[in-house]
């Protein structure tokens, strides 16, 4: 299968210009993922675009290649996905556009700096004080909560999220759920609830754009509802 691969290589995605893109031709198996495609393009001795111009290798992040680490999140034909789990046979036409997640500062090409996610989890005190209190009836949800890859796809689609803002997006309720559920009722739990309201609940417009985007298959909307119930409505 032959595919035209359009890659964003500019500095500022939100002010993007046509000259920020380079186009490459890729010939390979239709079963190939975008990760494989990028890997193969970069493995060539010389990376040449469709105009015959030699180009620098494409910078992108990857680690596991099997949907377990969240490193390779990027916009694929405009939709945030993991490069390792989008396949060429899913394309409607033989063209593919690869762009960095637009909500985060660009480091280079498709690599963005997602430090804000990790900083915000520290801000909301996402940890347990003392031993976990494990309720069998919530096992599945806590398990789902712990599966979060911190890839940022749910933040990319969120109309209210921006790096540096007070609102920290769906990553917060997804991850907060297990801690709120496992934490004994002490001072730390109160602090967490307070910061949860400030950094998430008050800022969420409940558009649920984040509902079906999660590449890890986490039931994001369920966990939002559960975290809201526990932190704001005092249930659970």
């Amino acid at each position: 299968m032959k595919v035209q691969v359009k890659v964003f290589r500019g500095r500022d995605f939100n002010e993007r210009r046509p000259e920020d893109y380079q186009i490459f031709e890729y010939t390979g198996d239709e079963k190939a993922s975008v990760a494989q495609l990028l890997y193969e393009l970069n493995s060539k001795e010389r990376l040449v675009d469709i105009h015959g111009q030699t180009c620098e290798k494409i910078t992108w992040e990857c680690s596991c290649f099997v949907k377990k680490c969240g490193a390779c999140a990027m916009r694929i034909n405009g939709i945030p996905r993991l490069a390792c789990s989008f396949f060429l046979y899913e394309l409607k036409s033989p063209e593919i556009t690869l762009e960095p997640l637009s909500k985060f500062p660009i480091v280079k090409d498709l690599t963005v700096d997602r430090s804000f996610i990790f900083e915000s989890l520290k801000e909301i005190s996402l940890w347990l004080e003392g031993n976990a209190r494990m309720k069998p009836e919530t096992h599945e949800y806590r398990y789902g909560s712990a599966k979060c890859l911190m890839c940022g796809c749910c933040l990319e689609v969120c109309p209210n999220f921006r790096v540096g803002g007070r609102f920290t997006g769906a990553v917060t309720p997804v991850n907060m759920y297990r801690i709120l559920d496992e934490q004994e009722k002490n001072g730390h739990r109160k602090d967490m609830k307070r910061s949860y309201s400030k950094s998430y609940y008050e800022g969420c417009g409940k558009s649920l754009s984040c509902r079906d985007i999660c590449p890890a298959g986490i039931p994001v909307d369920d966990l939002i509802a559960r975290s809201n119930a526990a932190a704001v409505w005092g249930r659970g």
Binding site: S33, Q36, E40, C62, K67, F118, W127, E182
Partner: protein, 508 residues
């Protein structure tokens, strides 16, 4: 002079690095946790099967002693017995503390972590969290470390890589800290510390197409080897018998597939040849990993090998193997319920690595190593489920000893002159890396022989770069070990030999 102020440096935030950071924090010692990516991206999140501990909750009268014996036997008695004893005795406590941290293990009816059978162990000893054991443990440990990040005990530097080690004297005997590269800006930062813990994972980058993470380039080990750190047992590499090529890497098809009745066959023209069942009528498809890998390796020289699960009942496919079915649909566009999957052995785990003593200190004073980058617990072969354990336990022991060492060290951060050896460093070119990977892939296969190893060694000697020197060490260790032991199989020396019952130790 006691040195209370200095921070311990930890490189790598997989299970070993996180565990070391936690140990430092519990000892009220500050540390800097540096890693080339956030913990969420580390290979540790990929582990599926489980973690071993003799919890003895299955009425099989299991004990740490038996866990110890199984570990030593699998490693063909090369591992340090005292170190392994420490690890197997600590294991039940480690799994219990993970549960207290909130790890969602599958639980039995008494609320204890459920245990499953794993290869090479007769008793049920492997605790698991569905098929995400590594991820679930990593999340809990990351949450725990975050608490100390917020309190300032742990400083995190993500997207920063190890550049080189610094020394107190030009003869490179005593560690004085590290140079760290900010991967996003290219800036080089210098950190002083008498104690550095390396937890950078296995040497997967020597081969490229393993089941492991692309982050584990092996470059930190190569640089330390250049600076005089010893490498032990690099020839012992575990191949997983059933992997498939996917996305420029290898994807695992878990042993559970054969455990539930999957059959291996080779396609001889139009005829299916069930070679494992023919050769091993008793255990058939469930022979140990190294033997199965070897058989597949030999057969596939002539015929393609497949794993067939099409005959398995729907409910087994649904209840027990749904993860594998889903992965094959996602990654291979292949439905295991309808079609057999072509499989090949693939590189999975490195038993060898930086040489460390029981305190996890290397031959460079103040330099510690833990996790898959360190060859201490697994000897000539590793039991499935022992590497997560070894990473957590090893990180803890390294953390403890690094703290003690740092407090007693006379090296005063701030005053001493620092020697950094960056000038001699030689980074491999992309083309040479590719050739190195291809060459090692060829000569360090499941079945090895002198001719291929010699040919490989000659090519590698012609390559420049520190990574090539690490590859050279691996290749020459395999050449020198003229016997077959554990994961190392030489067709020209197929027997185990008493005179080789010792660890390989190499120094550049």
């Amino acid at each position: 002079m006691r040195n209370e102020k200095e921070k311990i440096l930890i490189i790598g935030s997989g299970l070993a690095g996180l565990s070391a950071a936690l140990e430092c924090a519990l000892r009220s010692k500050e540390c800097v946790l540096v890693s080339s990516a956030p913990a969420q991206r580390a290979q540790s999140v990929m582990a599926e099967g489980g973690i071993n501990a003799a919890l003895d909750t299955k009425g099989e009268s299991d004990s740490p002693k038996e866990h110890f014996q199984d570990t030593m036997k699998a490693g063909c008695f090369l591992a340090d017995g005292e170190a392994v004893r420490g690890m197997t005795e600590a294991a039940p406590g480690i799994v219990k503390s993970l549960k207290d941290m909130g790890v969602c293990f599958n639980l039995d009816k008494n609320g204890d972590p459920d245990l499953r059978n794993f290869g090479g162990q007769k008793k049920k000893r492997t605790a698991f969290a569905k098929s995400d054991t590594g991820k679930q443990i990593m999340t809990a440990l990351t949450d725990e470390v975050r608490k100390y990040e917020a309190s300032g005990m742990v400083t995190r530097l993500m997207n920063h890589s190890f550049e080189t080690l610094t020394f107190t004297t030009p003869d490179r005997q005593i560690c004085a800290g590290c140079l760290i590269r900010d991967d996003y800006t290219g800036e080089i930062l210098s950190f002083k510390s008498s104690a550095v813990i390396i937890a950078t994972g296995g040497m997967h980058g020597l081969f490229g197409n393993t089941t492991g993470s692309k982050l584990n380039t092996g470059e930190a080990a190569a640089e330390l080897y250049r600076l005089g750190a010893e490498i032990t047992n690099p020839e012992f590499i575990q191949y997983h018998p059933t992997t498939v090529s996917s996305g420029g890497k290898r994807m695992l098809i878990s042993e559970a597939a054969r455990g539930e009745g999957g059959r291996l066959f080779a396609m001889k023209e139009t005829e299916k040849w069930y070679f494992m069942e023919e050769k091993y009528p008793e255990l058939g498809n469930l022979m140990p990993r190294d033997i199965t890998a070897r058989e597949i390796w030999n057969v596939q020289k002539n015929f393609p090998v497949f794993l067939d699960m099409t005959h398995l009942p729907d409910d087994i496919m649904e209840k027990k193997l749904s993860g594998i079915v889903e992965d094959c649909i996602t990654y291979l566009n292949l439905d295991l319920r309808k079609d057999p999957v072509p499989v090949e052995p693939g590189i999975h785990y490195f038993m060898g690595g930086l040489n460390a003593d029981r305190q996890h200190m290397t031959n460079i004073q103040g330099l510690f190593a833990a996790g898959e980058c360190c060859g201490l617990y697994h000897g000539a072969n590793r039991l499935g489920g022992n590497s997560l354990l070894g990473a957590i336990y090893g990180g803890r022991v390294a953390g403890e000893n690094a703290c003690k060492y740092s407090e007693e060290s006379t090296f005063a951060s701030g005053s001493a002159h620092i020697y950094d050896d960056l000038p001699g460093k030689c980074v491999i070119s992309d083309a040479d890396r590719e050739l190195l990977q291809r060459t090692l892939g060829k000569c360090m296969g499941v079945v090895r022989n002198e001719k291929e190893l010699q040919a490989g060694l000659e090519i590698i000697r012609g390559l420049e770069g520190d990574l090539a020197r690490l590859g050279e060490a691996m290749c020459s260790a395999a050449l020198e070990r003229r016997e077959s032991r554990g994961a190392h199989f030489r067709e020209d020396h197929p027997d185990i030999r008493e005179e080789f019952c010792k660890n390989t130790v190499l120094r550049r």
